[in-house]
Symmetry: D2
Subunit: 401 residues, 4 copies
């Protein structure tokens, strides 16, 4: 017997659960891509994307995943042979740095381990040492999906301004946009990249690069930008095909339109609050379980935790055992530990992650926690009693206040 | 802010949650209804329906809801002016009796209230008093969706046999089939009716009448049976349209085929165990909440409770307040109290029901309980602490053993 | 090789092609059936159904197919032992008469063969001879789906009025509603029945009975009406479940709402014109093919032809050969000849039907005709040249004028 | 009144009509992207893609459109500062050359106008003059979607071999793959690129680069390849995410799997024959219309015409008038003339294109031709009579033989 036969809940940190409205919107006949309803609809996406990113800047939409827009952002702003500064708090900063190196860009990495956010003072030191302004951009991952750490972005702008350093401030909001609070303009971000498949609740396949006038001025000074990555015609198309440098990703656009309608209807502030409340519920359960067993959260201080993903450690091989149990017996697919390992656990079987981004509500999260609690019990992994009830209590209080 | 924006969970006692596979199967072009794939597919439904009902008898499929097949069952077996015996443990026995009366059939009701199952001894007394065998059928609701009581059916067969009474034994399994154990042949049921929208996980719109040779012999002796309700051509069609006395319900049939595939894949015994385990988890949570507050379950003895639906009382107006809270804030739609009222609560606002039938797993049920626990807290309805954790513990043990 | 691999076109006379919008509307989670959006939506269906039927009368919606509402209409108005008059121009009048007989109602059939519409003078003679007004209703099929004849309904009202005969005038608009012009009130129809799967472009599974005050007065005088068929609570529900005497057919209702939106958007007069123009295009092609080969249309005079279905004869076995060819090689599924046979063709293999009802446009119809023309050629069935071009010419002129 | 209300037929040259099976496959919950069913499924795509391309070579799948894979193919094989030779027969060769130039590659264009295919002798002359082998690749568009010309690819291989020139032979099969015969290995193509949205019948958003060992050897000699475009890890992934350099395009992959199942089931040779027969039917209609009016096909000799798209000229402004008429009145959306203009028609309103690629059958094509014929008549554009009947005749003969 299994207790998983019902609607499976996908609790990995992306792709997130697709809303019915998004999947329905994608279930339609191919449209005319030259005139009519599709071009008109695409124009409506732009202001709504800006709304989500809290910016009055421009946005280019790419048929690409997050790695693609990592490359796109650099292709418009940093030439081969130039340098970027990459403070790293998990796997994805290394990924972005690697993309840079593949483009012939030198990436200076400031390794922060996987348990703490970016330290502005370390960034300050590195920039201060860069007397010749060889660093053209600071690549900051807002939320690292592997470590689940969230770094403050605004202090990096302050550092740049205080030093008068001209490097662009770039933020990777793949895991955070539409989940954790992000204010592109208020925080002074020059370039922001994200993808469709997490807070934007649309299947993977679209990437976005937001940029402000400072970044666009750098773009204009570039000797050459690949046509596919060039953000200029995409953000300022004279004819429709320039939005996407060729054929439009028709069905993704239908889905994105539906997702943005949902986001606008709820309101971005309310969405941030929802994610925060649900994250606090998860942490409350974990705190109870931790009290009496091996479970720990990767990021100790809640201030530094993302509201979209939570990385946890159970000790090898219990992370993998738990994931397997919840998947097979409870209808919950947890995320693997990514970029995590220990000397006696080279494959990271002691780790797992909760994804809680996008189209998630109290039912989904409390069900996930209930199944995890059941799994801890069934597998006889020591844990404090009453975790999911503690989470329910957080939910009670969140809605009251 | 609300914490309901995500996938809403429908926890009413029918229609149940539709599996993706069922909705997908229904999303297809209209088929040819005269030849080809559709007629071939329909023939495959029959053995699988028998499998679910545990019978080697016959089955007629109707385009109708449960009320329709209540009428269909009687139309084939009881003539106007004849009599039926209806032990009643909730609202639906009264409904069936009312349908009978609308057909000119006299219905003798044995009222059991709404808190206890059918008492075979009361049925025995009524049948024993029927010296002239005027009672043509005993109409027994297996699970009453309003009270959530489950009655034993096999003892009724024993009573009939012991008395040598020729009345047919009819069972209403609308709420129970595919959830609670039901053994049509082993329990000696002559006629069983059910619908598509609960354990069969298909949208409402199909009804089913299963019958054995005894019942069919009665049918053959009837002076007249309405063409629409006549089960003979439906169960033994010479041409395809006779299956449905006219145009086939094409898209429902696609959905039903997908649902039966899921049922066969899991196995009916495993399905019964799953429902039992999940029901026990719900009751465990309720027992905790009850200890320290007003919540009570309508059926005191777990032996008499359905594994598909659970009726509860919070006291007016807290049943309605709780339903509203979970719907608006947690993403869970609970069932209203049906056929329940109290002197100071004529509209039954003190009651509610958990639906837990069909496509349900540990995640869905624990999420539902978590949201209810959060609601009890937010509304400051007194309740014992730790209900959902107690439920998770039941799940742990269910899967282990 | 086959030239059918693409979107198959279903050209049978019902079920008709389902619009994407209808299938999409049905692809959604099960709703709450006790309160909220569903009950509110269902209330909006009623005025729109009246609009389609051109009536200010009432309407009851049944979970049933056409045979079911045949029975429903009679159950509310004619008691066992009473009599109905059934002028017959094809198979379906016999079907309705048979349903009546199954209910203990005597059906006097006026056989008109299968090539001519109802002759009001024959109806007059039968009613005039009924001095005692034993005939309680005249059952008139507006369009017979087998013969494709369309009968005038208003003249029957004139006959009844002229004779002062109190029988109800009932019309079967299963094949015609939303295709051929039908004016319930203006034509003096007392009861009209139809189904979801043709002009209403929704999968089979819903039936409708429209009725006026005269008919409702008869209903009120009935000694007994089966609860399932009783139109009173359905048309005047005090609580939501009475609309459907039990569980609502949730997903069909979603589909019907989408279909009615399409109908209102186009306008019923425009829909009738569209069907007429497309029918004339089909007939023009057939006239060309007929000139030089065996093809004939079943109804000689276009005035008497339905705009929704066209029955044709090719001679045995070429009707079946053509259907098979178009299905396998061209992507078009034609309808079988129904109720058609000849001494040397007992199985009707010489006949076939074009369905052209509901969601059909010039592309679909011209494609169908093109494939038929290709099939006539490939099978070396003699036929006049240029049929589909003649049809295209009709389309040219239809849109110009 | 309009005769377009029914299923609209999209007859533009891509995106093509999406099969129901593809859209259904995409309508499913987000999957786990780290383990389980998705990674297993993706592995099955590779041999099937090779089957469609007739190659035993390797394939890299990109989240990108056709422009993206133009860039990808070059990024792996041609360094900035190097040179490519681009014979051009329409708009898309210029597009590819432009992408090259955006990458710092020099593109030598051999302009052939828009009415004739690539002339191998001109290519021979250009390569023969390239004594120092500065040309690193010949970029040949197999079918130009704008002009609808199809060029022979094998002769280009012969020229390269005869001259002993080491340039890679690259083919753009975006419009042709799965429609026109293409034999990657037999024709000696080194690199082939295509997209998902035409013959592969999947929404736009996936691009493919096929390559052989010769091309891969060049790749291995490249000083640097951008990570996103690098085909090595994509074609030889050690872990799943490398297939797509990051998050997999989950829903597109579901759709592609369904489309490849259809292709394998029909067989690639049968698919090519189907497209050829349908193209010949279109041309037959056009030949009739041309005889007596202004319509001409852009490519005079059928040997040089694609079987996937046909460009036509009516003279300004009748191309646009016809497109508008068929769209509004007949349910057919034709393609605009792309890259076509005349001195007195700078916007190309005299041109239009038929798309006939992918999921197309006799019904769809004959319906399209019927509507065009109706439009020519309604708009009083002079044309020969009987075009669609001539097309039907071609279909007759195609299936017979």
């Amino acid at each position: 017997m299994t207790l998983s036969n019902g609607r499976q809940y996908l609790a990995i940190p992306g792709p997130s659960v697709m809303p019915d409205a998004v999947l329905q919107a994608m279930h339609q006949a191919a449209p005319n891509i030259y005139e009519g309803a599709l071009p008109e609809m695409v124009a409506t996406l732009i202001p709504d994307l800006r709304y989500v990113a809290r910016t009055s800047g421009q946005v280019a939409i790419y048929i690409a995943n997050g790695h693609g827009v990592w490359e796109a952002a650099l292709a418009n702003t940093v030439a081969p042979g130039e340098k970027v500064l990459v403070p790293a708090c998990g796997r994805f900063a290394y990924g972005w740095a690697d993309m840079a190196e593949g483009m012939g860009i030198e990436a200076d990495i400031l390794d922060h381990g996987i348990k703490t956010p970016i330290d502005p003072e370390r960034v300050r030191a590195a920039l201060a040492a860069d007397k010749n302004h060889e660093i053209k951009a600071v690549l900051a991952v807002h939320v690292d999906t592997s470590s689940s750490v969230r770094s403050e972005i605004a202090p990096l702008r302050a550092v740049l301004d205080e030093l008068g350093h001209p490097a662009l401030l770039m933020a990777d909001c793949i895991a955070s946009l539409g989940c954790d609070r992000f204010e592109m303009d208020a925080w002074g971000v020059d370039v922001m990249i994200t993808g469709s498949q997490k807070g934007l609740m649309t299947p993977p396949g679209l990437g976005f690069v937001f940029f402000n006038d400072r970044a666009d001025a750098v773009r204009k000074s570039m000797p050459r930008v690949s046509r596919y990555w060039d953000w200029s015609p995409r953000a300022n198309p004279e004819v429709f095909y320039q939005y996407f440098d060729g054929t439009a990703p028709t069905h993704h656009l239908f889905g994105l339109r539906a997702a943005l309608d949902m986001i606008k209807s709820e309101g971005i502030e309310a969405i941030w609050q929802r994610h925060e409340s649900l994250a606090r519920a998860i942490w409350a359960a974990c705190d109870v379980w931790a009290d009496g067993g091996p479970l720990t959260l990767n990021i100790a201080d809640p201030v530094n935790r993302s509201h979209a993903v939570t990385a946890a450690r159970l000790g090898a091989p219990n992370g993998s055992r738990l994931r397997e149990w919840t998947d097979k017996n409870g209808g919950v697919t947890l995320g693997i530990g990514l970029g995590m390992s220990e000397p006696d656990d080279p494959n990271g079987t002691g780790f797992f992650r909760f994804g809680h981004m996008g189209h998630v509500n109290a039912h989904m999260i409390l069900g996930m926690l209930g199944v995890v609690e059941a799994g801890l019990g069934a597998l006889e992994i020591p844990h404090g009693q009453g975790g999911v009830s503690a989470a329910a209590s957080v939910i009670s209080q969140s809605v009251q206040t």
